[in-house]
Structures are given as structure tokens and as C-alpha cells.
Symmetry: C2
Subunit: 344 residues, 2 copies
């Protein structure tokens, strides 16, 4: 069988209490006995039994993350931040991939299961209203990532700020007629990005033409997809209205579709049409997309920090932090001389 503190205690001629004390670095142990215990533990290659610890400590040192398994991999990068941070803190991460609301609820249920996890992270999906009271009352540690609810801690991207920056960049480049290719309005980020886009236009004395805005009606991934961008732009071009000299696109993945549609029509990027998108996922680099970059890894790190704080202080006031995306200028906006990678 595997080695326990009893084995160490026997071998080191001490009580198990002492062994536990040195293993946990708690005070009041002679450096002499401490040494002895440590030596024996190392010699025996002792490994603490996580569950026994969890049971005795009433704390599992593990978190769960409920993530959408279908998305554009934005969350994967955030998850990486979560996971690395957790590792340095000695926590483990259980993941639950959810593809629909039902599964989210099921996993939320599990999270309530006493003792299993110390807290849960919910990614990019709405927290179901019917669980609000329960989580709130029981003070189950919960941190929302890329989603929001006033009663729980959350970490988000400042869509308003990002859309504003993107639009202003296009305006600064001299564009007067700017369009937008948006995802489905079912998605909160899509709504927020649209609103700020319009406001920025107005604030700069530019007309807001509904004819220049295309909104996805696709179900899949709320229209944050390449096909959605492609079809959106194709439909737009068929409207026969004058083509704006620039477009703000609500995600990189859509922008890639937009690029294809534009090229099919013989329009060059950025010479004929400038593009600024949103997210800065790995692919954006490949397509030389100017885009609003989100500090995904950092968001993951912060999510963990918030969670730890919440676990340690269940009654602290709810916090919500918004990360302001930063503009990454590549070729698609035309600020640089380069052509867009795949359109050369």
C-alpha cells in the first residue's frame, strides 16, 4: 500500500500529529525533529493523500470550470491562464464542457455538491436565473468569466471601449463611410459592440447608416463564425449600396469570412476596404488582421485570483472587472503599408 503519515511517524519515532505539523509547516516543532521527519518522509517518498486532506481540512483545493466546448477558442486561451495560475497555487481544475443551457445547469448542480470543489468558474455563458438565489444564499464561490451577473464576481472584456477604439482608429485613418459586420444580437457582446460603434460614429459627426450594418441571424455560436462573416458580407454586397471604405467586424473569425467575400468580389483589403476586428485570437495574426486584443491569459489569471479571494472572504462585496482591449495594428486596416497576408 502507499505510505502514510503513520509510516513516517513510526520510522521517525514521533506521533502522527507531529508529522502532520511539520508537513504543514505549522509552528512549534523543534528544528531537530522537523529535520528528522522530513528526512524520513523524503526517504519513503511520501505523497499526501489529497482526499484525506480534503476531508480533514474541509477544503478540496480544486475548482471547476464550466466552459462552452464549441466556441472560437477564445476561452481556451483564458483557460490556459486559469490552469497555470491554479497549478502554482496547488489547486486542481475540473472541467465541464457544456454545449447547452441544460448541461450548464447540470454542472452547476454538481458544483453545489458539498466538498467536491471549492468554487466554480463559469465561462462565456449566461448564469441561469433560477440558480441565482441558491448560489447567492449558500455563498457558493462563483466567478463569471466573459459573462456577467450583478450578484457575482465577474471578469469581462470592455466591449464598449474596444468597439470605440476600433472605430476611432478607422476614423483617424480618414474613413468617412464605415460599416459594421456584426454577430447575432442574441449575444451581449455583439449588442455592446454595435452600440459603441454607433455612438462613436455619431460622436464624430459621422452618419449612422443602418444600410451599412449587417447583423448575423445565425444560430451557431451566435454568428461568431467564418461562415457568418462570409455570408454577411456577400449579402451586404448584394444590397447594391455604395460599399463603405472600412468595416468594423465583431470578431476575427468573422473577419476571415469577410476577407473571402470581399476578395471574391474583387475588392482588395486594405486598399479598397479596411478592416478592424475583435478578439486577437491566434488566427488573427495569420491573416494580418488589425484587431482589438484581449489579454486572455491575464483574464484567466485574474479569474483565479478573484476566486481565491472569494473563497477566503465569502462576504466581500461583489466585484466586476472589465479588461480594456488594446488595438493591435497589422495590415488589414491599411495603417501599415503591407498587404493582408492571404490576399497578397
Amino acid at each position: 500500500m502507499s505510505v502514510t503519515i503513520y509510516d513516517i511517524a513510526r520510522e521517525a519515532n514521533v506521533g502522527i500529529g507531529t508529522v502532520s505539523r511539520v508537513l504543514n509547516n505549522s509552528a512549534n516543532v523543534t528544528s531537530e525533529t522537523r529535520e528528522r521527519v522530513i528526512t524520513v518522509a523524503r526517504k519513503l517518498n511520501y505523497q499526501p493523500h489529497a482526499f484525506a486532506q480534503a476531508l480533514a481540512r474541509k477544503r478540496s483545493n480544486t475548482l471547476s470550470a464550466i466552459i462552452p466546448f464549441f466556441t472560437n477558442y477564445f476561452f481556451i486561451e483564458v483557460l490556459q491562464g486559469v490552469q497555470e495560475t491554479l497549478t502554482t497555487l496547488g489547486y486542481d481544475l475540473i472541467i465541464h464542457g457544456a454545449n447547452n443551457k441544460l448541461q450548464v445547469e447540470e454542472y452547476l448542480q454538481r458544483s453545489m455538491r458539498k466538498g467536491r470543489v471549492d468554487g466554480t468558474l463559469l465561462f462565456s455563458m449566461e448564469f441561469p436565473e433560477q440558480y441565482v438565489e441558491e448560489f447567492y444564499q449558500k455563498k457558493t464561490p462563483l466567478v463569471l468569466v466573459d459573462t456577467f451577473h450583478p450578484k457575482f464576481d465577474s471578469i469581462r472584456v470592455d466591449n464598449a471601449s474596444g468597439a470605440t477604439t476600433a472605430t476611432e482608429h478607422l476614423i483617424a485613418l480618414g474613413h468617412k463611410n464605415i460599416g459594421m459586420v456584426n454577430a447575432s444580437l442574441k449575444s451581449a457582446p455583439a449588442r455592446e459592440r454595435l452600440a459603441s460603434f454607433k455612438q462613436t460614429l455619431e460622436r464624430n459627426g459621422l452618419p449612422v447608416l443602418e444600410a451599412n450594418i449587417v447583423t448575423s441571424t445565425e444560430e451557431k455560436n451566435d454568428g461568431f463564425s467564418r461562415e457568418s462573416g462570409f455570408r454577411g458580407m456577400v449579402e451586404f454586397l448584394e444590397r447594391g449600396v455604395p460599399v463603405p471604405t472600412a468595416f468594423f467586424v465583431s470578431s476575427d473569425i468573422q473577419a476571415i469570412g469577410v476577407l473571402a467575400a470581399l476578395r471574391e468580389r474583387g475588392l482588395r483589403v486594405p486598399e479598397d476596404v479596411a478592416i478592424v476586428s475583435f478578439d486577437d485570437v491566434e488566427l488573427a495574426k495569420n491573416f494580418d488582421l488589425t484587431t482589438m486584443s484581449q489579454p486572455m491569459f491575464k483574464m484567466g489569471e485574474l479569474a483565479v485570483k478573484k476566486m481565491i479571494e472569494r473563497i477566503e472572504n465569502p462576504n466581500a462585496p461583489v466585484t466586476s472587472v472589465n479588461f480594456k482591449p488594446s488595438l493591435v495594428v497589422r495590415a488589414s486596416c491599411g495603417a501599415n503599408k503591407k498587404y493582408v497576408f492571404h490576399e497578397q
Copy 2:
């Protein structure tokens, strides 16, 4: 505090043993008392304490997966299969993202930590030789996914079969001069795909021209990247040799780069150059790539099944299953009339 079997026992006027028995569906309980216990448990909203169970059962019902966090997301799809299957079996999944060998070793160490997990899944990375003995001796359940070691169970893609099918498809389409864009030879799949490509050519009486083979020397992700494909094809075109009428590309992601390089040179796909790639990740669909499809979700499912079998029978002979990829014909090979999506 939360409700325990003691609470249920008291309320239902039975012993905790009985409560445990009905909760575990073990035999020998009057249906009358069973009813009573169940009713009380439900009324009290009893939730078993996972760690206490794990401690008593000496089984945690959780697995860990060590995954590369940087790859082309092939593993994400496999992971989804793993996760869903696990959920239906009542298992939990702890993930460890590793970006280098050191981290793999660290997580492997953790896996040995008694009691924490019942087994571990290692994805797409080599199992370090120095751990072989230890894992083998201790019979720590281990299943390798998309990687191989003779001493442990593994689930892989049959690269030889896939490369053969891909090459034969091109030959069947009438191509006589076929090139290959490969990833780094550091990667076993790349080596295997190359070998079968050559063999298939020979077997069909076609010449194997080294000048028609481009091999990536990129470190990052072993050359399985868009940039790698792009640069590879650009370099090839600069060699000035006659351009083959078809290419087998070792991954979808590289093929996307190849497409860009070809188009830059004014070569159309599939009219001037036909392409067949490998993987069938989400993007392949978007680019209308004819490719070798791997049943990723199924591989995940099977990995879990193998793991369960291994846990239940630690001494069973080691198994290794190879999934034969199947050809998915889209536009890039020219078998269909359609043009390649982004090149229209």
C-alpha cells in the same frame, strides 16, 4: 453544515449502514425502509460528500488528462469526447495543460500521488522514458492518446493508412506528378505520413522526387502551422522546379497556408494544383479542403473506455488501437466541380 447520512439515519429511524446501503443500491433492504430513506434523503436534499466516498472506497472516480495547450485544437475535439463520456459514467476530469516536457513530468508526478486520480490520459506528447518503469511497475492506469509507447494502452490515428488513402485519391484523379508539404520530421506523425506517401507513389509506379517534397524545419508546434505551410510552399515555388499538379499536405492548418502561397503566385486550387490534407478540423470545412478525417470525438470516447477497462483489470494485456482516417472529399482536390471556398 451540510446534511450527512447521519441526519438521514436519525430522521428515518435507521442506522447509517442502512442509509449507505440504499444510497448505493446494495441488496438486502426492505423496499419499505428503502422508500423511507429515499424520501428523507430527498427531503433533506442530501448530497454525498465526494471525498469521503473516495476515501472510503479507495477510488476517486476522477481521471486526469495531460494535454498540450498550444496545438491545433485537434485535441480539443478529442477532449470533448473524453469529457462527455466521463460525465455519463459519473467521472470527473482534471486537466493539466503542459507546454513542455518538464511540465509533462511534473503532472505525471502528480498523477502518482495516491488517491487523487484513478488514472491519467496523456495527449499527443511523448511519454518520458524515465517514467516508464515506475508507471509500469505500479500499474498506474495510463492511456496514451495520439501518441504511443509499447508498454501502455494507446489510441492513435493510422497515419500510414491515411497518407496512403490521400495519395491514392490524388492518383485516381489522374495526377502523375504529386508533391508533399510536410511538417517537421521531429514529429512521428509527420514521419509516418511521409513514408506512406512515398510508398504509395512507388507502389503505383510513380517517381518519388525529393525535389517535390518540402519539409518544415519550424520548431513551433513541429511545423503544424499555417505559417509553416505558407513558407514551405513559397520556398518550394522559388526552387524553380516544375510545379506538381497535386500536393498532399500533412495537416489542414498547413494547407491553409499553402492555399495562400499558391494564390499569391497566381495558381488556382484545384484547377492548377489539387490539394488533399489531413485532420479535418473545423477550419477544413471552411476552406473546402479535401482531407483525411479523424473521428476525434470517438477517439475520446474510446480512450475513456480503455481507461475504465484498465482500471478494472490492471493486468490485461496492453492494447493499441489505430483509427483509420477516412477521406472527406470537398473542393480542394478537384474531384468536385466547386472551387475552393476562399479562392473563389
